[in-house]
């Protein structure tokens, strides 16, 4: 079983195993249990340490300075991301702005609404340019789970976390995108902070996502705030 996940909401393993002087379960009160079995029950009953996300699938490779106009061209910004049907349509236009000469394989196949590529591999300054939140939204709506890049423009990074749409993961070293090809089978392992390209056989270290991880896992900043009790479910005023 994995060690306690590096999550702000995780409880340490020691705390899970500590004897509880006032067990709340009726089952426990009625039963004569040895100390050992009590611990095992507690382990199973308490929130098990969450396994950090693991994504597996084909990757789509882009280069440096991919700006948000290439991720979602401005003509599609009339679509409002908070409307479900328009959210889906945004997904169908993800990466529609990439020049076809440099990127002959479309991210979303013609006629499809989502992409076969679960992971995007990029270079430096991914998501630069406009602040449009439609950019991480389009990627998430298309089915992307994670972007693995050398670095991010700040508004794109912030939007990815706030919406919880994609994990903006950073590689520790440069050059990975040059060694990957669109269609390579990859694994993104947040628990071990590693990006594996099974097709090429190469592995790359990732920087831990840190506090941003639980926010994205919860589904964005609002969901996280509610989950952790920072704000009430629906504020009345």
């Amino acid at each position: 079983m994995a060690a306690a996940a590096p999550s702000a909401t995780a409880v340490s393993t020691a705390a899970l195993l500590a004897p509880n002087p006032a067990p709340t379960s009726a089952f426990l009160r009625r039963t004569q249990l040895t100390r050992h079995r009590l611990h095992s029950l507690k382990c199973r009953r308490a929130a098990a340490p969450r396994r950090p996300p693991l994504f597996h699938g084909e990757c789509f490779v882009v280069g440096d300075n991919i700006d948000t106009d290439q991720i979602i061209p401005a003509e599609h910004l009339t679509l409002v991301p908070s409307k479900p049907d328009e959210y889906r349509k945004l997904g169908s236009f993800a990466f529609a702005g990439l020049p076809s000469a440099a990127y002959p394989t479309p991210f979303v196949a013609p006629g499809e609404e989502s992409s076969r590529y679960a992971v995007i591999v990029g270079g430096a300054n991914f998501g630069c340019g406009s602040s449009r939140e439609h950019a991480p939204v389009a990627l998430g709506a298309a089915g992307t789970r994670a972007v693995v890049a050398e670095g991010y423009a700040r508004i794109f990074f912030r939007n990815s976390v706030a919406t919880g749409e994609v994990y903006p993961l950073e590689l520790t070293d440069a050059g990975a995108w040059k060694e990957c090809k669109t269609g390579d089978v990859v694994t993104v392992d947040l628990g071990n902070s590693v990006f594996i390209n099974h097709t090429s056989g190469k592995e790359y270290k990732l920087k831990p996502i840190g506090d941003a991880g639980p926010v994205i896992e919860a589904g964005g900043i609002f969901a996280y705030a509610r989950k952790t009790g920072m704000i009430a479910s629906k504020a009345s005023a």
């Binding site: 910004l77 009339t78 409002v80 602040s131 700040r154 900043i221």
Partner: protein
């Protein structure tokens, strides 16, 4: 909230020393150190957060801060703070427009409730400007959505437009949000202004903290009036020397972006000081701060002075208190420019940092010129273009599109006399030069937009533009080639049909 210590640490390794630059001849060496001020200590960014120091515990000792740090400290009610800290700030103004407004409103209602009220109906400014003069139904619907919200919430500042066939029939309509914010007195020194648009950094020209955020962050601000921001370290740009008559602020910022690259200021503040900056008008300072985002900057600032106060007279009745960087403030790095030695520059396709001298691109044949946007569609931008057309007296050789940023700018174009013209207005000079008639004020084709947007690039062409971005497809067609330039350079290029250094006409 999201952290980015890693990016900062990488950047701090690159900027290990103060740079002194006198472009375009890097071999020039400044003899003597009489003009040098005390060197600035470079400070590592990845410092751990420290607990705030209560004033009572330290007596009169205050930690030195840059103006960006001071603004965020005041907004978060902290005596002091340091780059890298995450702080909750009170937002003074939140701006949104027709493209991001509906999404922001959707999130606000979903998270705070259908009947929720915005935190302060006087601090939300909603400005339709992006996709206005179009028959695109969704675009039109989006303006209706923000109108409905403004009515429901009784939003004080909503610059509405209903009659799309005649912008003048809409007395409230302004146009481009960043120029409207300035013209309507919403930009004030020392304040925090957030907007759902990357060029919100434009307002830093007023000595305030202004930056772009996404719909979700904006939805949060709508409900709470607060935002969680990470304090950026500041890169200082000292611009000294007399501004040559053929240079504009656009040349200065393109010079800087070309110097530090499109990610050179990521997660950082850019502070512009020096005698040249002090000589700039407010509109020129806005042009400077407008493109901070193109270098990846979080915000840009120009210290407020008499020029700022004069501009604000009569525009705002809200008190403001400017702040200034302490003499001992620590900057991430320093760049110095002798402006008198700079030349007109362009940013070649397809990146704002792909800098080149305008004169070195004189063999680039162009298909059109576009003068407009928050970056290059203000009154002074049009006066500058008119100056070049006037000096030439000839007609343009390529279609030249003029899109005033706001109604006010449009009116200035039609009423202000151009110096040295014997009383002609910009519009007259433009007409004589064979330019297109100035269009309805909006963001226009700066970002392409719906297919029927005026001056949109629907075929691959070469365009010289006073706008802010030239990534592939920015103005419409993915194979379009955009050369970013100052209004002087754009006008000069229109006259020759090639990328042209404005000195060909101004000297």
């Amino acid at each position: 909230m999201a952290s980015s210590i890693s990016t900062a640490a990488k950047a701090s390794a690159a900027f290990a020393h103060k740079k002194e630059l006198a472009a375009p001849a890097p071999a020039q060496h400044r003899a003597g150190s009489s003009r040098r001020t005390k060197p600035c200590r470079v400070r590592a960014v990845a410092s751990p957060a420290r607990a705030p120091r209560a004033p009572s515990s330290t007596g009169s000792v205050k930690s030195a801060m840059t103006m960006t740090e001071k603004i965020l400290a005041r907004a978060s009610e902290r005596a002091a703070l340091e780059p890298g800290e995450n702080v909750w700030v009170d937002v003074d103004v939140l701006m949104t427009h027709d493209v991001c407004g509906p999404g922001t409103i959707g999130i606000f209602k979903k998270e705070f409730g259908e009947d929720a009220k915005v935190w302060d109906r006087e601090k939300v400014v909603i400005i339709p400007d992006h996709y206005i003069f179009t028959s695109d139904e969704r675009a039109n619907r989006n303006v209706d959505i923000i109108r409905d919200f403004c009515v429901e919430q009784n939003i004080k500042y909503f610059y509405d437009i209903k009659d799309l066939s005649n912008f003048k029939a809409n007395p409230d309509y302004k146009g481009v949000c960043h120029v409207a914010l300035a013209q309507e007195g919403h930009c004030r020194p020392g304040e925090v202004l957030l907007g759902t648009d990357s060029h919100t950094c434009n307002a830093g020209a007023f000595g305030q903290f202004a930056t772009g955020i996404g719909n979700t962050d904006a939805g949060f601000v709508l409900g709470t009036g607060k935002a969680l921001l990470k304090v950026p370290p500041t890169i200082r740009f000292v611009l000294d020397g007399e501004m040559p008559p053929y240079l504009l602020a656009k040349d200065l910022i393109l010079q800087i972006i070309g110097e530090i690259s499109v990610s050179g200021a990521t997660y950082k503040s850019m502070e512009f000081v020096g005698s040249t900056v002090e000589s700039l008008t407010m509109e020129e300072r806005m042009t400077l701060c407008n493109m901070v985002i193109e270098a990846g900057g979080k915000n840009g600032v120009v210290p407020a002075d008499e020029t700022t106060f004069k501009y604000l007279e009569g525009k705002t009745s809200i008190d403001y208190e400017p702040v200034y960087s302490d003499a001992q403030a620590r900057f991430f790095s320093d760049y110095r420019f002798d402006v008198s030695k700079l030349e007109p520059v362009v940013a070649k396709p397809h990146s704002p940092d792909n800098r080149a001298l305008a004169r070195e691109c004189k063999d680039v044949k162009i298909d059109r010129v576009y003068i407009g946007s928050c970056t290059g569609g203000k009154t002074e931008d049009f006066l500058a273009a008119a100056k070049v057309f006037l000096a030439s007296g000839k007609k343009v050789k390529v279609p030249t599109f003029l899109v005033p940023a706001t109604q006010k700018v449009w009116m200035d174009v039609y009423s202000l006399p151009v110096p040295g013209s014997g009383g002609k207005t910009c519009s007259q000079i433009f007409e004589e030069a064979g330019c297109d008639t100035p269009a309805s004020p909006s963001c226009g084709a700066c970002l392409g937009g719906p297919r029927d947007t005026y001056a949109r690039m629907n075929e691959p062409m070469v365009c010289v533009s006073t706008t802010n971005r030239n990534f592939p497809g920015r103005m419409g067609h993915k194979e379009g080639q955009i050369y970013l330039a100052s209004p002087y350079t754009a006008a000069a290029s229109a006259l020759t049909g090639y990328v042209t250094d404005p000195r060909d006409f101004l000297m």
